[in-house]
Assembly symmetry: C2
Homo-oligomer: 203 residues x 2
DNA sequence: TCCATAGCAGACTAATCGGTCTGTTTCAAG
DNA sequence: CTTGAAACAGACCGATTAGTCTGCTATGGA
């Protein structure tokens, strides 16, 4: 096999991700990507057949990283405690820490793509939907464990409660960007944890 | 004065708003706008000097409508009860009803623009920031009234709590779009009201 | 009545877009 | 050492882009 091209491919994806989060997918030209990635048209179209396929590959990589993060957060939470409520709280504390760590240029590719959904193909949109559904399913399962031990103070729908964490997460990025307040998403996730505590924590 | 042009201008803005929410601002060409609005290049550039100015005008109109909605919701809430907590809960119940009413094509122009912030001028971004700050200020003021009568069950930061409603609102749209679940935003706002109840409602 | 002007139509342009094509370089297998 | 294919470089192309320009049309004031 000739020289390795994965480095170039990664650089293209990195550059695209940064540009898309700043100016959207339609607002990011292939020329801008190759300029930022330090390659050429030939190099680009060798790795990606079209701009559409670049979007698909970018989302695929993003989803994979997201799933991996999810795995880590769940694993760490379940390791720190055997109590499902403490695990759940630890899970979102971990997500909050993750946000605050990578606080510069806050944003989520899912939201970026979904606000240009008319331009991306069904496959790519399906990947995002699946990612959200995966979060929902895992969180919902944990919530089932929680309610078994701690009955909620008031009746709540568990499926939508499982979504609430991500909803706060996604929405906080919008406000954070608009107001230029990088610490905002962390504070918002903190409130969600307080909500969970008030709902389930006895006493 | 010759014939009235405000109707055409309104049609252009309406068409733009719908297209931008579907494919973003950069993904919406002037040609697509004029085709959807049923006018021509001449008509378009008579009303707007550039595409940038169209964005500014669109956001201006959107902010104005948002402020008006805010006025109505606060007025109605304060009319229904004299208790600040009931007012606050009624406020977000009203917002929830508003979402569920206009459930088709859920989305917020603020988020759409903020995920293409690199393409819009500082003035336009400032308008959005001001809109969010206005919501924060008004909600925070109401929260101050609430805590005066109902001490929160656990200590919370009131500024970020004031933002939480909009964060849930914005984030729910992202999930709703990705999962094609139009009823999702309503359920998410319901959780935020439950949070407020658990925080402040005595008993 | 007529005419000045806002409102609008549509051909046109320069630049940029995504994508193609040809050629060159690199490197591992034979 | 040759060779064949992957990894690029960059000129090039048609289509689309935002924006311009010229001209027609409608209408209220003189």
């Amino acid at each position: 096999m000739p020289r390795d091209g994965t480095a170039t491919r990664t650089r293209i994806l990195d550059a695209t991700e940064e540009l898309v989060l700043e100016q959207g997918f339609a607002g990011t030209s292939v020329d801008a990507v190759i300029a930022s990635a330090g390659t050429t048209k030939g190099g680009f179209f060798h790795h990606f057949d079209s701009k559409q396929e670049l979007a698909r590959a970018l989302v695929e990589r993003y989803v994979a990283a997201d799933m991996e993060l999810s795995d880590e957060l769940f694993a760490r939470a379940e390791q720190l405690s055997s109590d499902p409520l403490e695990q759940l709280l630890e899970l979102f504390a971990g997500l909050q820490a993750e946000i605050e760590r990578a606080s510069s240029n806050p944003g989520c590719l899912y939201a970026s793509i979904m606000y240009e959904r008319g331009l991306v193909d069904e496959t790519t949109r399906g990947l995002i939907a699946e990612a959200f559904r995966a979060w929902r399913t895992r969180t919902r399962a944990k919530l089932d464990e929680v309610v078994e031990r701690y009955p909620p103070r008031v009746p709540v729908d568990l499926d939508s409660l499982a979504d609430q964490g991500l909803a706060v997460y996604e929405g906080a990025f919008v406000l954070s960007r608009a107001l230029s307040e990088p610490k905002l998403p962390g504070a918002q996730l903190r409130h969600f944890r307080t909500y969970l505590e008030l709902l389930f924590r006895p006493g």
